[in-house]
């Protein structure tokens, strides 16, 4: 048996099922703790596997492949992976607009669901800031590569 995220999570869920059938009514609190620990462990392993999967399936930038120069979007995937690993500063140095872009995407989904009062304005201004951050960081990147 190998311990991937799904099977450990399933074990946690199985313990939940046992609890519901009242097999282990003694040690109730202990069993709950064990169950939640197993579930958290399963989620953590799943998260780790998903990061590995993302690293193995990165898209190649054809602009960089042909011209040997970074395109305005180069570094986004690497910085998302850094963000998932928790290296915030590395992610910011790789591609400064990542956090803002992810915020815009998630906020758009929430806004379409609940229709916030100032949602459109927040989206508009964060979008303008993200676009300017992308352009400025791209110019700085080109400058640091002695392109001009």
């Amino acid at each position: 048996m190998h311990f991937d995220g799904k099977s450990v999570y399933a074990a946690g869920a199985f313990c939940q099922g046992l609890l519901k059938q009242r097999y282990f009514l003694h040690d109730f609190q202990e069993l709950i703790n064990f169950r939640t620990k197993l579930k958290k462990l399963g989620l953590a392993i799943f998260y780790h596997h998903s990061i590995e999967w993302l690293q193995a399936h990165m898209l190649t930038c054809w602009f960089k492949k042909i011209f040997h120069v970074d395109c305005p979007g180069c570094g986004f995937q690497r910085s998302v992976i850094d963000l998932m690993k928790g290296n915030f500063s590395a992610s910011f140095h790789m591609y400064p607009a990542t956090g803002l872009i992810l915020f815009i995407l998630s906020f758009t989904a929430l806004h379409l669901k609940w229709n916030f009062r100032y949602g459109p304005d927040i989206l508009k201004y964060s979008y303008i800031i993200a676009a300017s951050v992308i352009i400025i960081s791209y110019l700085i990147k080109l400058k640091s590569q002695h392109f001009f």
């Binding site: 011209f67 395109c71 815009i104 992308i134 352009i135």
Partner: protein, 122 residues
């Protein structure tokens, strides 16, 4: 979604038909403009066309449509305009590269890389 308000004349207001899709297309255009340029360009242009149509609809009959959907539409239009600018810049950049180095170099990536490296270490 909030409930549809009722106008003084008694008719129920409705959302503009493509307000949400304009917002989504406008925001996706910036995410995809960095990937391949042309995708973002197409999405943004579609968003702008839809937004113009809906703006005309709203101005023809302002009481019939909700204010919130009109605000969604306007911010989606701004996003799409920025997205089309960025993707157009990206496309122009590619065209400038092709003009500068010639199409034949594109077919031989190795030579291309060498030329750009020469240019960088000038």
């Amino acid at each position: 979604m909030e409930p549809f308000p009722i106008t003084p004349s008694g008719r129920m207001q409705q959302h503009l038909p493509s307000a949400n899709s304009v917002l989504v297309l406008g925001i996706l255009s910036i995410v995809l403009c960095c990937c391949y340029g042309i995708v973002g360009c197409i999405l943004a242009i579609v968003a702008i066309i839809l937004a113009n149509r809906d703006t005309r609809l709203f101005h023809a009959n302002p009481g019939l449509y909700t204010e919130s959907s009109y605000r969604n539409l306007r911010s989606g239009r701004v996003c799409a305009i920025i997205g089309v600018c960025l993707s157009a810049l990206y496309l122009i950049c590619i065209i400038l590269f092709v003009v500068k180095f010639g199409l034949s170099v594109l077919l031989h990536p190795h030579e291309m890389q060498q030329r750009i490296l020469e240019m960088q270490h000038r």
